[in-house]
Symmetry: C2
Subunit: 290 residues, 2 copies
C-alpha cells in the first residue's frame, strides 16, 4: 500500500490536498500542528511522526507562512532544519518518494517567465533562499538515500480559507460585504492558481513519477487589475474596486509567471477550472462566511 504523510495538512493548501491524494489511491496520514499534535519544529517531532506512520510517500507542505512576515523572518531557518530532519527520518523509515513545496521565490525575479532548469535561482528574499537552499541540500541527500524527490514550485494562489490579509481574500471579503476594495496600480502580472487546483497538482505530483523541480502554476498570467476587475464584475459590484488607492509595495516584482511545460507535458496536469470559475467559487465561499 502507498501511504502518504502530508505535512501542513491543516494549512491553506494542505487541507485541499487530502481528498485529491485519497482519490489517487494513496492512504493519507495528515500532520498538522493542532489536529494531530505533531510539531515538526520540536526536537524529535519529525522522527516521531514518521516512526508512527511509516509512510512510503511524503508531501511536505508545512512552512512558516505568516502574511508579510514570512518573506524575511528567521523562522525560515527553523524550517530548513525541520525539513532536512523530516527527509532524513523519512528515508531511514523506508520512505520511497518525497514531494516538497518549493516556491517561485527561488527564481531570479528579473527574468520571467520562470522555467525549471533554465531561469537562474537567485532568490530575492530569505523565504526564497531558504526554499532554494533546502532544495540544494535535499537533492544531494536523496541521491545518496535511494529516495525520489519532486520539488513543486508553487506560484500565487487563492481560494477558500485564505488568510484575509492576502490580496484575493481581502478583495473578496470587501466585495461580498459591500465595502470598497482599495488596490495598488494593479499592473503586476502574476500566475494565480486556485488553491483546490494547486493542491490537486501536488497530489498528482505525489502519486506520479516525475522527479526534480516542477512549476505548479496555471500557465495563464493575469495582471492584478484584471483579476480584481473580474472579481468586481462577478460580484456585481465593479465600482467597489479602487485601482491606485494603495501605494506600490517596495520590491514588488513586475512579473511572476511560470513556464508550465513540465507540469503539462511530463506530469500531464492542467487546472480543472478557469480563472472565472475559480474566482466565482471563491466569492461564493466568502459570501457564505459574510
Amino acid at each position: 500500500v502507498s501511504r502518504v504523510l502530508v505535512t501542513g495538512a491543516g494549512g491553506f493548501i494542505g487541507r485541499q490536498a487530502l481528498e485529491p491524494l485519497a482519490r489517487r489511491g494513496l492512504e493519507v496520514h495528515a500532520v498538522a500542528r493542532r489536529e494531530h499534535r505533531a510539531d515538526l519544529l520540536a526536537p524529535s517531532g519529525c522522527e516521531d511522526v514518521v516512526e508512527a506512520v511509516r509512510p512510503s510517500h511524503l508531501l511536505h507542505l508545512a512552512w512558516y507562512a505568516e502574511p508579510g512576515a514570512y518573506w524575511h523572518s528567521p523562522e525560515n531557518l527553523r524550517w530548513v532544519d525541520a525539513s532536512l530532519r523530516l527527509l532524513h527520518a523519512f528515508a531511514r523509515a523506508g520512505g520511497r518518494r518525497a514531494v516538497v513545496a518549493g516556491s517561485c521565490a527561488e527564481y531570479d525575479w528579473s527574468n520571467p517567465p520562470f522555467a525549471e532548469g533554465r531561469t537562474p535561482l537567485e532568490p530575492a528574499t530569505l523565504y526564497g533562499a531558504a526554499k532554494h537552499g533546502l532544495n540544494v541540500v535535499a537533492r544531494a541527500y536523496v541521491a545518496g538515500a535511494d529516495l525520489e524527490l519532486a520539488w513543486g514550485r508553487s506560484f500565487l494562489t487563492y481560494g477558500p480559507g485564505e488568510d484575509p490579509r492576502r490580496l484575493v481574500a481581502s478583495v473578496a471579503r470587501a466585495l461580498v460585504s459591500g465595502q470598497p476594495a482599495p488596490c495598488t496600480h494593479g499592473r503586476q502580472v502574476r500566475d494565480f492558481l486556485y488553491v483546490k487546483d494547486l493542491a490537486d497538482a501536488f497530489a498528482a505530483l505525489t502519486a506520479g513519477e516525475v522527479t526534480g523541480a516542477v512549476n505548479v502554476a496555471s500557465g495563464r498570467p493575469v495582471a492584478v487589475r484584471e483579476l480584481v476587475g473580474l472579481m468586481g464584475e462577478l460580484a456585481g459590484r465593479p465600482e467597489l474596486i479602487e485601482i491606485g488607492a494603495l501605494p506600490e509595495r517596495p520590491g514588488d516584482p513586475a512579473e511572476l509567471t511560470a513556464d508550465v511545460g513540465r507540469l503539462r507535458e511530463e506530469l500531464g496536469w492542467r487546472p480543472a477550472r478557469t480563472l472565472e470559475q475559480a474566482l466565482g467559487e471563491t466569492l461564493d465561499w466568502w459570501r457564505r462566511r459574510a
Copy 2:
C-alpha cells in the same frame, strides 16, 4: 574591542587560526568540543556560547570531517542546522562580521579552475551541497540582519595534525618511518595549501572587510604525483613512493584548482611558504612524531 568566536578551534585548521587571529589584534575565543565543552549540535549549544562570549566576529570552521565518510554522511544536515542557528544567535547578540568555511566541493567540478561568481555551483556530493545550501540561506539571512558575511572556500590542505588517513599525512608517515607509500596514478591536479597558511588566510579574511565568496587556495596547482614525488625527494627516500600501486577512486575529479584573484587582489593575501618549504615543515613534524 573586536572579539572573535572561533568554532572548530580544536580541529585541523582551527588550531592554526588562533595565533594569526590574535596577531591581527582580535580577542580570540575558541570553541571546541572537548576543550571548551561547547557542542554546537546540542539544542542550545550555539546560543549559549554566543551569549557567553558576545563576539563581534565569528569564524565558523566547525563541521563534520571524518575522512571518507564526510562526503555523503547525513551529519552534513545537522551542520547546516547548527550553522544557521549559530549565525542567527550571533546576529541577535550584536555580531558584526561572520566568516564561514565553504569548500571547493560547492563548485561544478567539470569546470576548473573554479572562480567565485563565474563557475556554476553544482555540488557533486552531499558535503558540497550542504555547504552551498547553507551559503544560499546565509547570504539572504545576513542581508536582512545587518551582518557582514565572507565565505572562504577552502581547497585541499595538509600539515601538522592532519588525519593520518588523508593523502599527505599517510605519505609523510610512511616516508619518515621508511615504509612504502602506495599511491594512485597521481595524475589528479589539485590546489594544495599548507594548513598554517590556510588558517592565516581565514584569519586575514576575518580581520578584513571583503564580503561574499573568496577562494582560499595557493593558486599553484600541482599533480598529485609531483607532490608525492617532491615529498620523496625531500625525505631522501624517493624509492618509497609507489605511483600506480592503488586503484583510482571512483568519482575522483581530474582537477580541483582555484582562481585566486579575489584572495590576492581584494584581500591582498598570499601564502607565506612555497610548496617545498611547507612539505619540508610537514615532514619534520611527522619525523618528530615517528
